[in-house]
């Protein structure tokens, strides 16, 4: 199924293709939510956060949000955490999450565009 890459041009072409796919996915109106799922994140409950997010997004019938997983962002102390990237390219890191906080983030930030400042990671 996967197209084998047989020369450097193939790789470039593939890169362009996946880039545009990813751009398409997080198009001009869309938000991207990334849940950090390294060992530390998972130990801190990132799986529950991902489940809660899917549940909340589903319940709110949100369709312009892509949900992704990624590795550790280095801030183990703040796990479980997620990064929300908005259309303007701003990224918002939320830390020490629980189900209730996820609910608020979906309600306020995803649906109304108001970041939930209390849960943003501050140094």
């Amino acid at each position: 199924m996967t197209q084998r890459i047989t020369n450097p041009r193939d790789l470039k072409a593939l890169q362009e293709k996946v880039k545009s796919e990813i751009d398409l996915r997080s198009g001009p109106k869309d938000l991207r939510i990334t849940v950090h799922m390294g060992t530390c994140g998972i130990a801190a409950g990132a799986r529950d956060i991902l489940t809660a997010l899917m549940h909340e997004l589903g319940a709110a019938k949100v369709e312009n949000v892509s949900l992704q997983q990624t590795g550790c962002a280095g801030l183990c102390d703040q796990e479980p955490m997620l990064t929300l990237t908005d259309k303007a390219g701003g990224s918002f890191r939320y830390g020490r999450l629980d189900k209730n906080k996820v609910g608020e983030i979906v309600r306020d930030h995803v649906l109304r565009g108001q970041p939930v400042l209390e849960y943003l990671i501050k140094a």
Binding site: T39, C40, I42, A43, A44, L75, C76, D77, E79
Partner: protein, 182 residues
């Protein structure tokens, strides 16, 4: 998954030793020609049996054309291998530096008290085996313990029972919920 070299514990499936040895033979056939096969095979065997019984070690020595003493020597070298039966769940307490600094020893003491076993021992009901380990790399969330392949972070001695109860599976002990602050 077995392609990836990851072996899920066979606990729960009741297979006779004969059946397990037969499975081991298949594994040995696959690995016979691979260089440096002994350790991966031992890892798989431990996954199958839950520990490394003498019968399995003998079979491995035979299958890989090595002396029994060489196999036994390798087994005794690595702390992951066990030649005595282990409990259904392996509880490992991280005593890496970060966990140690954040109170890992107190967690270990609490576990010893709670399970009434010492390090390296298995509870009489064969549910838990207690071991210590060096660093799971969850230092950011110390102190950590690892039960089977799941890491639990910021464990407090007073919350040990809560963590264990999830693994007991109707073993009679109801979880004791406590409102520990922070």
């Amino acid at each position: 998954m077995s392609d990836d070299g990851i072996v899920k514990c066979a606990c729960g499936e009741e297979a006779s030793e004969e059946e397990l040895l037969a499975r081991l033979d298949t594994v040995l056939k696959d690995y016979r020609d691979k260089p440096g096969a002994l350790i991966p095979v031992l890892q798989i065997a431990q996954g199958l049996f839950g520990y490394l019984p003498e019968s399995a070690l003998k079979r491995i020595a035979l299958g890989l054309d090595k002396s029994y003493s060489e196999v036994a020597g390798v087994v005794s070298f690595y702390s992951f291998f066990s030649t005595v039966p282990r409990g259904k769940h392996l509880v490992r307490v991280c005593l890496g530096t970060a966990c140690y600094v954040r109170g890992g020893k107190r967690v270990l003491d609490a576990l010893k008290q709670k399970l009434k076993v010492d390090v390296g021992e298995t509870t009489p009901d064969r549910v838990f085996t207690l071991e210590v380990a060096r660093c799971f790399g969850a230092c950011g969330l110390a102190p950590a313990i690892m039960i089977d392949e799941e890491v639990h972070h910021r464990v407090k001695p007073s919350r040990i029972e809560l963590v264990l109860s999830k693994y007991r599976n109707g073993n009679g002990d109801a979880p004791v919920e406590r409102s520990a602050k922070r």
